[in-house]
């Protein structure tokens, strides 16, 4: 007789001392783990709920400005520094981790219209309603020394925006014309105009710095090449665009924030139709900024909310609002892609997390693994109705919700009317237009 009976030595399964960690022998045999799918689904449901429970995106509020904040810019080199300008001409430099203002400059008379940091991070430029461009040192002056700009350029007209070249000492301003300046000269090197009276924003392409895009007040977006003397082309839309931002990773895409409550992502190779129409805001969109990864962008709106859109999705994945935040004028995504800064009407700069439920600070390996596992679970079961309902739900302020419903109804009515018109007119005379085609009036070369 040959016999063997299962006999385990407890020493192999129990820890030796209480200071040791517990032994956990595994066996991945599927028959020992029944109900794989229902259990995973339950976990996914729990993970979705927990994600909503932990969604606390608001980090800090920086107060100190004495008027509406008109513009914010990031420091080119330092993650912790942010520069903001207000409508009373004051510019403040902030230290984000300490959440305090490190320096205040009375830069302009009237509005500060635009700020940009030089690529090396040693100085920054401001433009204001007093028709000046000023260059400031990033370092605060010593004790008892007066705040003086390094350089001041007097322009002919009001400047409304400024942007600096990524690698060279040139910058671009917009106002009645789009001007390219050399830092060493007091008059523009190049000046573009295309029969329009004013521009609201201008941006250098981050990858191809000879390329520029600007938003004009005649409802158009104009593209320029600094190597040529005339603008390249422009696309005229139904309503005016306020600002635009290039996608930093795929720099042939840019997104513009429009007055018609939408954002439009364009491909510069084909301006006839926007690539995506991003809808969700219920009032004019005032500012837009891409995340450094180029996957998402954030938009600020007059409806007192900030929304985060995936770059290729038509609707936002997230909406941020507080009771106290008024019309959001400007917004920036931090260079580490983890935070969002917003400046609003009630003189505060707010710091938000880019991922609402993300835990800040150093994570242990187990925390990281758990977070990754939960993320994957939610992704796996995202189309199940229970999971989707919880993951999509966002609380909205009363008036935003009301306006959303109203807009929906208006849209439906417009659609119905168009249908009726089509029904009662000659076949083919009222063409079917997609949402993308509706908003572009024409493209001019």
């Amino acid at each position: 007789m040959k016999v063997k009976v299962l006999c385990r030595n407890p020493d192999d399964y129990v820890r030796e001392t209480t200071r040791d960690i517990q032994r956990v022998p595994r066996n991945y045999d599927p028959t020992l783990h029944p109900f794989e799918v229902p259990r995973e689904y339950t976990r996914a449901l729990n993970a979705t709920k927990l994600e909503r429970v932990f969604a606390k995106p608001f980090v800090a509020s920086l107060d100190g400005h004495r008027d509406v904040i008109s513009c914010i810019t990031k420091h080119a080199k330092s993650l912790s520094t942010v520069i903001s300008g207000a409508c009373d001409g004051e510019v403040k430099v902030w230290n984000l981790p300490k959440r305090e203002c490190t320096r205040t400059v009375q830069a302009h008379e009237g509005f500060v219209r635009g700020i940009c940091s030089r690529f090396c991070g040693t100085s920054f430029f401001t433009v204001g309603d007093d028709k000046t461009i000023k260059q400031w040192n990033m370092e605060a002056p010593g004790y008892g020394v007066r705040e003086e700009p390094i350089n001041t350029i007097l322009g002919k007209a009001v400047f409304t925006g400024i942007d600096h070249h990524q690698r060279e000492g040139t910058f671009v301003t917009c106002g009645q014309t789009v001007d390219i300046w050399d830092e060493q000269r007091s008059s523009p090197v190049l000046s573009f105009s295309w029969g329009v009276d004013s521009f609201s924003s201008v941006r250098y392409n981050p990858v191809e710095p000879d390329l520029l895009a600007s938003c004009a007040s005649d409802r158009s977006i104009v593209l320029y090449d600094t190597r040529e003397s005339a603008p390249l082309r422009k696309v005229i839309m139904q309503l005016r665009s306020n600002t635009l931002c290039w996608n930093p990773m795929e720099a042939y895409y840019f997104t513009c924030a429009n007055e018609d409550y939408n954002l439009y992502t364009y491909d510069i190779r084909n301006l006839d139709v926007p690539v995506t129409v991003h809808m969700d805001h219920v009032s004019a969109v005032l500012d837009v900024d891409y995340s450094p990864t180029g996957r998402e962008f954030v938009s600020a709106s007059f409806d007192k909310t900030i929304r985060i859109f995936p770059k290729d999705k038509g609707h936002s994945r997230e909406v941020y609002h507080t009771k106290r935040m008024q019309h959001v004028i400007c917004v920036k995504w931090s260079a580490d892609s983890k935070f969002i800064m917003s400046g609003s009407d009630e003189m505060n700069i707010r710091l938000w997390k880019a991922n609402a439920s993300e835990k800040l600070g150093v994570l242990s390996t187990r925390e990281k693994t758990a977070a990754n596992y939960n993320k994957k679970l939610i992704q796996k079961f995202q189309h199940h109705p229970q999971v989707r309902r919880i993951a999509r739900h966002r609380h909205l302020p009363r008036d935003v919700l009301k306006q959303k419903r109203e807009l929906k109804e208006m849209k439906e009515a417009r659609r119905r009317k168009e249908q009726n018109v089509r029904k009662h007119s000659k076949p083919g005379s009222v063409p079917l237009l997609t949402e993308k085609e509706k908003h572009v009036v024409k493209v001019v070369e």
């Binding site: 009976v5 407890p10 399964y13 956990v24």
Partner: protein, 583 residues
Amino acid sequence: MAAQEVLTASHVERKAKKKPAKRYWEETENTEQNKPTEEESKDEQKQKPHTEKRKKEERLLSGKEDPFPGEKPIPQKQLRTFQRGQKHKVPARAGPKLKHAITSSESLSELAQKQAARYGLLLPEDAGFLEGDDGEDTCTIAQDDIADAVDITSGAKYFNLHLSQFGPYRLDYSRTGRHLLLGGRRGHVACFDWQTKHLMCEMNVMETVNDIKWLHTEAMFAVAQKKWLYIYDSKGVEFHCIKKFNDVLRMQFLPYHFLLATASATGFLQYLDVSIGKEIAAICTKSGRLNVMTQNPYNAIIHLGHTSGTVSLWSPNQKEPLVKMLCHRGAVHSVAVDKTGTYMVTSGLDRKLKVYDIRAFKPFHSSFLPAGASCLSLSQRGLLSAATGDVVQVYQNVWGSTPVSKPYMAHRLRGQVCGVAYCPFEDVLGIGHGQGFTSMIVPGAGEPNFDALDTNPYRSAKQRQEWEVKALLEKVQPELIGLDPGLLSKVDQASFEQRHKERVEVMGFDPLAKQKFKPRMRKKGRSSAGAVEKRKRKVAHEDQRDEIRQTVEEKMKRQKEQKERSDERKELEKKSALDRFKK
């Protein structure tokens, strides 16, 4: 550094010219080549072109060839156990996004499957076995001989408890296999750690005890007494008396759902959620006294055996049985389902033992037991124990190609057997009978390697608490119980009609329904009832009219075409060969 590398390289080159010393693997390689198994040889054939290619590419720094190039092949059989569903093929018309999504997820799942299959190497224990000498029948080997032959700790697993006063006994092992619960018919209830023989509680409930069951941990158990269902803790303190559950005869605990399913003498199948203490479902089975019950551990379906010879399958979500199978001529005595949920074994009054494939609902094979089997139980590794009178027989290869005939082991007891159960993760069969309890050694019954995150026999109190919280967090809702537990991961291919019906149900109205024409209220006396009716009549059946107009037009068109065609034909017919001579 660079100079050094050059130096070593030249050094090695010089050395490489020498005849290499014989290595330990050269012999083993040869022996492996001599007798490859069928599957491995198949693998090799598949992988050969790869390995050859790699051999040329991969040379070690020393210039020697890697004797075992590539990764170690995994036997197909091992891989198959970890396969989940069929592989997805990329559809021909798929776009780049979908293509990428499918291929990447496929490669990930393949990696997971391979890693899980490779993990088999690290499992510490092997299963037990019993082999007789030449001509010796294993079923003739007595338990005493086995207990003498094995080591002292294993030998101690064969023991008898002489409890002649309150029997016969029902028994239940806890999920980890550490704790044993005994319930005598005449009220004796005891629970203890059967390996250390440490008694946790012992009492007499002074009532008939029909059945006993551990709940999710060894801290609580349920006792079906004469009238009501009671829940006690491991110290014997009565927690609850649940009067909604009366005359319970048999109980099953569904550990992943935290459900206690009870079958009563009044024909009710009831489900109690032990985590929230609520009755989830009460189903009137309308088939009399229910004293045969088991659960399918694969999908948490309850199997009930009836006196009519049928076995019915129940879920808490449906008032009717999911399936009803006629299994025996005469009453069903006992039912058992294996842990993969593939096979069901039944025994009945007709003294037959039948094996069914319950995925296809087909009989597999049946065999005749001269004395019939009153209690059946299946072990984790597929050994079947059948109690006939005072003898317990254990069968091997129950779902082999031939029906079972000769038992693997047998053991005679003092009294009539009332309950048999295998201890999880041990080679032990517990038998409750009229004269007490017997723990019998059955080599090869238990799963040798447990998963400590699921069931850990050696867990500490802290680990148990941790596990309890985790288990409660991922408690599966009773709505998810169905015949196929993997249904949730499959694509819902509901038809448009069905989806539309559900939508109508949710919204409360039909969004696609055509709106009824409502005439506008007109002033200046033009909205009299008659005028409104007139206006309504104008648009009445407008859509129908459109349709009719269309069909009529089509019909006319067709007729016209036909006419034209027939005209042409007629003209052709009119033409004769002599026409050319005309005029």
